[in-house]
């Protein structure tokens, strides 16, 4: 370090013009910084020296000799400051010196405030037409009117323009190809350079603007979208026209032609709204509606504002206000979606996808049936065995792909809720955090849109009626900040979305009173807690005039229930008064694949979703107990858990009745663990869930069926359902 400082101080630079010397200094400063790290009095000096050096390099200094002096002083002071760092000098010394430094700016020793100065990349990235036209941008360049040079230029420029077109088309399919962007950038850059020399103002301006645009793309600040491609190709066409004019000896006017003018204007307007990032800019629904003539500009703005403040989608707000019909909105939405999907995808009717998935499912089954045919299995041909493995691999992949085509993570829907909760809590004066789990859970893409509204309703409900005001929460000993927790999980053939809050919970008595008042039930009706809670889903429970922030719990819950039921789903509530409420939204996956454990119970095979299993084990006789009033229990590593005999629910005659002979599977439901008893595990397999049809939809303990490799059907066990059956029977 000392040597670096010495070298810097002893003057490696001959003068402000000595760029090589400055370069060496900059490198030494980098080395020095590398050694001392980001702290200490030296850092400020290094930063300052860099800044002054940069000014000298770029010839932007207003007083080069003053800057030169300052740099020398700075480098000299490095030695002193170095001494300070090692505790040999006075720290005030540097400060005094810096204050006395010529042309002193305030930002000395303050790296933070120099950040803007240091933003070396920002230079000319913004397009400024005004300055382009009014500023004497280039030093007086003597006319280089050499006819031969001009002809060469025209030929070369034309040649380069044709490569631009070729590369642009390549970018259309692969917008991130940096090499292609460079290959387009370079000709514009070169054409601009030459045009500057031979005073072709229009060509110079035009290629300059396109170059700037492409420079943004090069540095990743602008995504190559269709409109960027259009602009570049448009610019190329105009350039070609200008070159042809030149060829005919018509070019070289001093004024800018209207065509060029309007193009430059277009580029300017475009860059005014550059889409930073890599996504294609998506038109807003409001914009599309305005375009369709459904809305006026101002009306659209009003609705957007209103929608934002209420955390609602533009379309919803517009329909509510009566500004647009649902049909018009859905048309706009479709157009928007089309624009999004257009990027690099093909739109496919979801029914076709459904068919594909079904057919692939059939294919897998048919394949298994062929391969497991006893006659086929007797063939000992190695080639057949190899080929069938290959076939299985292909069909498995095919199945995976066709499944995934319809599935999207629920994440994006969940993330919209963050904004909603934030806005709602701000408006209501409540402090709420939103936590989420299972965002990566995949869900049918149609379902994603369908669950959005119910989700919004329920969250809104939790904010409005569940979470208390901070003061109230503090009074009852809760954290003043309330929590809403949303969680998605695939359970068997269902997607379960839980919305929990730690608010005041449901008041069963109030609900009952209100239901009686509304005439939904009559006073003598005896309802258990669950049935009472379910009353809030009754259409008559909340009346229209109460749909405000101060209404009782139950706002629009009938709507939620209806939309969930439309999806053939189920809504459940559990709540503890004073502690919070939990809404379970159970939605079917019309088709989903699950990782299942195939188990044997008596003569039949069943499938338990692997996700539901904690472990499977065999126990010794000593671990089995029968406790008066609690039924059969087993002890798994110090914890007692109820034994659930699966065969008794499915009316099977099991091979083993004794728990120490049979296989046990530990599952968890809520806070409790249970042990399921089965005969044995046959294997683990991914299975396609098939609905059992309307007739068996409500079968307790069964969530669906699957066709196994040999063509036989196995039922998929709904663990949660079995546990609640068990709990009911022991109550």
């Amino acid at each position: 370090m000392e040597t670096i400082v010495n070298r810097l101080a002893s003057g490696v630079i001959d003068g402000p013009d000595d760029l090589m010397g400055i370069g060496e200094c900059l490198n030494l400063l980098d080395d020095l910084e590398g050694q001392i790290g980001q702290a200490g009095p030296l850092v400020g000096i290094i930063e300052r020296a860099r800044l002054v050096f940069k000014r000298l390099i770029l010839e932007e200094s207003s007083d080069p000799s003053a800057d030169w002096l300052e740099v020398q002083k700075l480098l000299g002071s490095l030695g002193t400051a170095d001494a300070v760092e090692s505790g040999e000098g006075e720290s005030t010394q540097i400060k005094t010196e810096s204050a006395a430094r010529p042309g002193g700016d305030e930002d000395f020793l303050e790296p933070a405030s120099m950040a803007s100065d240091n933003d070396w990349g920002s230079g000319e990235s913004a397009l400024d037409l005004e300055s382009l036209f009014h500023e004497e941008s280039s030093p007086k360049v003597e006319e280089m009117q050499d006819p031969e040079l001009l002809r060469d230029f025209i030929d070369e420029a034309k040649e380069h323009l044709s490569t631009i077109e070729l590369n642009m088309l390549g970018l259309e399919t692969n917008p991130k190809d940096i090499e292609a962007i460079n290959a387009v950038f370079r000709p514009f850059h070169s054409i601009k350079g030459v045009a500057g020399f031979i005073n072709l103002t229009e060509i110079h301006h035009l290629s300059h603007e396109v170059e700037n645009l492409l420079d943004l793309a090069r540095s990743g600040k602008l995504a190559i979208t269709d409109s960027v491609i259009d602009i570049v190709l448009g610019g190329t066409d105009i350039l070609k026209g200008l070159l042809e004019e030149l060829e005919k000896g018509e070019g070289g006017r001093k004024e800018t032609s209207p065509v060029v003018m309007s193009f430059l204007e277009k580029v300017k307007n475009f860059s005014g709204d550059p889409s930073v990032g890599s996504e294609t800019p998506v038109r807003k629904v409001g914009e599309i509606l305005v375009e369709h003539g459904v809305l006026e500009d101002e009306a659209a703005d009003d609705i957007a504002e209103k929608g934002r403040s209420e955390g609602r989608k533009f379309g919803e707000a517009a329909i509510d206000k009566g500004a647009a019909s649902p049909r018009e909105v859905s048309k706009a939405l479709r157009e928007q979606r089309h624009a999004i999907e257009n990027a690099a995808s093909v739109r496919v009717d979801t029914r076709k996808l459904d068919n594909l998935v079904d057919m692939v499912g059939e294919l897998v089954i048919a394949q298994s049936m062929v391969l497991q045919n006893p006659d086929i299995m007797r063939i000992k041909d190695q080639k057949l065995q190899k080929d069938s493995v290959q076939l299985s691999r292909i069909t498995a992949e095919l199945q995976r792909i066709s499944m995934s085509m319809r599935m999207v993570p629920i994440k994006s829907t969940f993330q919209k809720m963050i904004r909603l909760v934030r806005d709602l809590s701000k408006k209501s004066g409540k402090e709420i955090v939103l936590k989420m789990k299972g965002e990566e859970t995949e869900i049918d893409r149609n379902m994603v849109e369908e669950i959005y509204e119910p989700l919004v309703h329920m969250i809104r409900n939790s904010v409005d009626h569940g979470i208390e005001m901070p003061e109230e929460r503090t009074r009852v000993g809760k954290d003043p900040t309330g929590t809403i927790f949303i969680c998605a999980e695939q359970k068997g053939g269902n997607i379960v979305i839980d919305i929990e809050d730690d608010g005041r919970g449901l008041d069963a008595k109030k609900i009952r009173d209100k239901a009686i008042e509304r005439g939904i039930i009559s006073a003598p009706d005896q309802l258990d807690e669950k049935a009472t809670f379910d009353l809030i889903f009754h259409p008559g429970f909340s009346t229209k005039d109460k749909v405000t922030e101060v209404s009782g719990r139950g706002v629009g819950m009938d709507v939620v229930k209806k939309s969930v039921e439309r999806l053939r789903g189920k809504m459940e509530i559990s709540s503890k008064f004073g502690k919070g409420s939990s809404f379970h939204m159970k939605l079917p996956l019309t088709m989903a694949i699950i990782d299942g454990m195939i188990i044997q119970i008596g003569a039949e095979r069943y499938i338990v979703p692997t996700i539901a299993l904690k472990e499977s084990l065999r126990l010794s006789k000593e671990a089995y107990f029968t406790v008066q009033g609690r039924g059969e229990l087993v002890k798994v590593r110090d914890s007692l858990m109820p034994l659930v005999r699966l065969h008794s629910y499915f009316h099977e005659e099991p091979k083993f009745r004794n728990p120490w002979e049979a296989l046990l599977m530990v599952v968890t439901e809520g806070q409790n663990s249970y042990c399921l008893l089965a005969d044995e595990i046959i294997g683990r397999q991914e299975v396609v869930i098939k609905s059992l049809g309307d007739m068996f939809q409500q079968l307790p303990g069964i969530s669906g069926g699957a066709i196994l490799g040999d063509g036989k059907i196995a039922l998929i066990i709904d663990v949660k359902g079995i546990i609640s059956l068990y709990e009911e029977s022991t109550r």
């Binding site: 770029l58 030093p139 003597e142 060469d152 070369e156 460079n182 350079g193 500057g196 300059h208």
Partner: protein
């Protein structure tokens, strides 16, 4: 040493630009001018011929001017050849990079013979 005794290497992928630079150099009485259309062609020339000055464009396909500069500075036999980088106003900010890579000086397009002469004086004075 008079300009006419110096060998200059112009590096630019754009033919017209090479012509323009050549013309300006001629105006300054340079006589021995070699052209190369990209960095690797330039390195070939430098291997074969003694060159007294390199005037290179920054923005070139395959090998950029900066890459060429780094290559020159790290090759013992040619590391001391004065290197003048030609750049555009809009790319000027990048020049700090070139300075760190020990460029002798730089010149912004478009330039005149007078400006080039001024820069050459600064370079060749050392």
């Amino acid at each position: 040493m008079a300009y006419k005794d110096l060998t200059v290497l112009i590096v630019d992928d754009f033919l017209t630009m090479r012509r323009i630079v050549r013309k300006i150099l001629r105006d300054l009485n340079f006589e021995d001018i070699i052209e190369a259309e990209d960095g690797s062609a330039a390195l070939d020339v430098l291997k074969r011929t003694r060159v007294d000055l390199i005037v290179s464009d920054w923005n070139m396909p395959r090998m950029t001017g900066l890459e060429l500069l780094k290559e020159v500075r790290s090759t013992d036999s040619i590391k001391d050849i004065p290197f003048l980088m030609v750049t555009a106003e809009s790319q000027k900010e990048n020049i700090v990079e070139a300075v760190k890579a020990r460029v002798s000086n730089y010149i912004v397009k478009p330039f005149t013979a007078a400006i080039l002469e001024e820069k050459l004086a600064k370079i060749l004075a050392r």
